[in-house]
Amino acid sequence: MAKSVSLSSKRISFSKRLSLAPLLFWSILLVLTPNALMVVYSLWKSEDGVLKRVMSIDNYIEAFTNPVAISVLTRTIIVALGASTLATLIAYPTAWFVVRRLSKRRLLAVLLVIVPLWISFLIRVYSWKLVLGERGFINSTLLSLGLIDKPLTFMLYSSFAVFLTLTYVAIPFCFVSSYSALERLPNSLLEASADSGATPFQTFRTVIWPLTRQGAAIGFSLALLLSCGDYLTPAMVGGLNGTMFGSLVITQFGLTNNWPLGAAMSVILLLITAMFLAVLARITRTEGTLD
């Protein structure tokens, strides 16, 4: 009796294992293989567009010694960190405001921040071209008001434009994750803190922030992930001065037709983003849970 039970439970667990087989197949075929092939490709070489299947780390050396690649990489990290920080600095207080000050219209306020996420990324990036362009909204307004004589040209096609646009597209992500953390913060904790004589700033530093910084960090990470590897934004509003690492990868794929170097750059991009996220996850663990 006991034996037959264990046999049938074994059969069930075997058939359950079998139900996972398609997942294994998918993972190997469409996730592990492409990534492995990319790593292999990054070790090969392209000589005048002809693929040489000889292992070497030349592409990595090239990516780390080429002055253009280095300056683009540095800019990418600075712009991505800057945009993610600014987006968090805007979104976190906004989420706080929505949680604390609004009651009836709270859902509407949240929805209004999320709606842009449903509008194509391409459209949102493109809109900034119309705002910042030489004959764009800002310039034509300033011109017609007589505040400037000729259009300001530093705005579009610059790192600044990339920074601003990335901040813009990152805000909804930062908002949602900050909001979901702040919303769960019980009022009693804040009252207890105030009753114990803490100033608002002390309450924030010792109660609110430690309990919600993980939410803020998740939003920051999403923003960083989005901006580190983005290609559309620098290509649309960045011009030559605002090139980012993602654009370099695409150039190797298209114009230069040096796939192995592009693959090496992709691997570098992946490792850098992974590193950032690991560091962030480590330093922002919450001190205590909310639920």
């Binding site: 139900s19 997942l23 996730v31 592990l32 906004t94 009651s103 449903w118 590897g229 290609y231 993602g246």
Partner: protein, 289 residues
């Protein structure tokens, strides 16, 4: 409840010696900053809509008159129409296959125990997280080595790699909130796993699948970078818009973009409504049970 809290808040605030005028001033500033965020979020989008109705070949103000000719021009653009058809074909195929595959993955993961499903889930999710250029290039390399010609099939498979995990996560999230006794009861009554899924589980996760399908549709329909890596000569709509906005320029792009934006928003409002309704009816059904 909320009202009570705010009363307590003002009480405790009164305890602190902040003068009323100062508080009013900071209140004013925080309201201004708060509205500023919303203006920042929507102004650029409104500017596209305004320019799409402006009777001027260049993208600039002052306003030179109202026109709908940029919208009329859409209908006459043959290349645009074929790119819309191609984009819709991709999205439909992607939504169809990712809904089936993603739901299957979610059910399989949810009904297994141990470490294997966790590891598999983490692996399947990877393409949804990595930057588009990385995913695009790795897939382009793979397809090239497999000897697949760039085109529709490659694009659909490429999109599936990042939409399937989205469906899996959304459906899995719903499955985990369900009471396992439903499926246990069904199995005890002699239904096999397939019948249990079809008559018990599926009706309960239908809304989640619908929500995921909608998300998948927009993700796929708007995708540019991965499509760029995998497309042959035929352009999808975002690729066409991309080429137009970067190089050549016609104001009718503003009209197309405005239309797409409007359609997405209407679709979302409609979908959230129906999903909410469905969730409510599910909840009341749960209560009855």
């Amino acid at each position: 409840m909320i009202k009570d809290n705010s009363e307590i808040n003002t009480l405790t605030e009164r305890k602190r010696f902040i003068g009323a005028p100062l508080r009013r001033l900071t209140g004013f500033f925080s309201w201004t900053a708060f509205s500023g965020v919303y203006i920042f979020l929507y102004a650029p989008l409104l500017i596209i809509a305004i320019f799409s109705l402006n009777d001027s070949l260049v993208q600039s103000l002052p306003w030179s008159g109202f026109t709908t000719k940029w919208y009329e021009a859409i209908a006459e653009d043959g290349q645009l129409r074929s790119s819309i058809t191609f984009g819709l074909t991709i999205s439909l195929l992607v939504v169809f296959f990712s809904s089936i595959i993603g739901t299957y993955f979610a059910v399989a993961i949810n009904s297994s125990t141990g470490r294997a499903p966790k590891i598999l889930l983490a692996t399947v999710v990877i393409p949804a997280i990595v930057p588009g250029v990385v995913l695009g290039l790795s897939l382009a390399i793979t397809f090239r080595m497999a000897g697949l010609e760039p085109g529709l099939l490659n694009i659909v498979i490429g999109h599936l790699t990042f939409t399937v995990p989205v469906v899996t996560l959304v459906v899995l999230n719903r499955l985990r909130t369900l009471d396992p006794s439903f499926t246990q009861a069904s199995m005890d009554l002699g239904a096999n796993r397939w019948r249990t899924f079809w008559y018990v589980t599926f009706p309960l996760v239908r809304t989640a699948i619908l929500a995921a399908a909608l998300l998948t549709a927009t993700l796929s329909f708007d995708e540019v970078v991965i499509t760029f890596f995998l497309a042959g000569t035929q352009q999808s709509l975002p690729l066409y818009i991309w080429a137009q906005t970067r190089f050549g320029f016609t104001p009718s792009i503003n009209a197309i973009v405005t239309l797409i934006g409007l359609i997405s928003v209407i679709l979302i409002v409609f979908a959230t409504r129906s999903i909410e309704k469905n969730l409510e009816s599910n909840k009341s059904a749960d209560k009855k049970l």
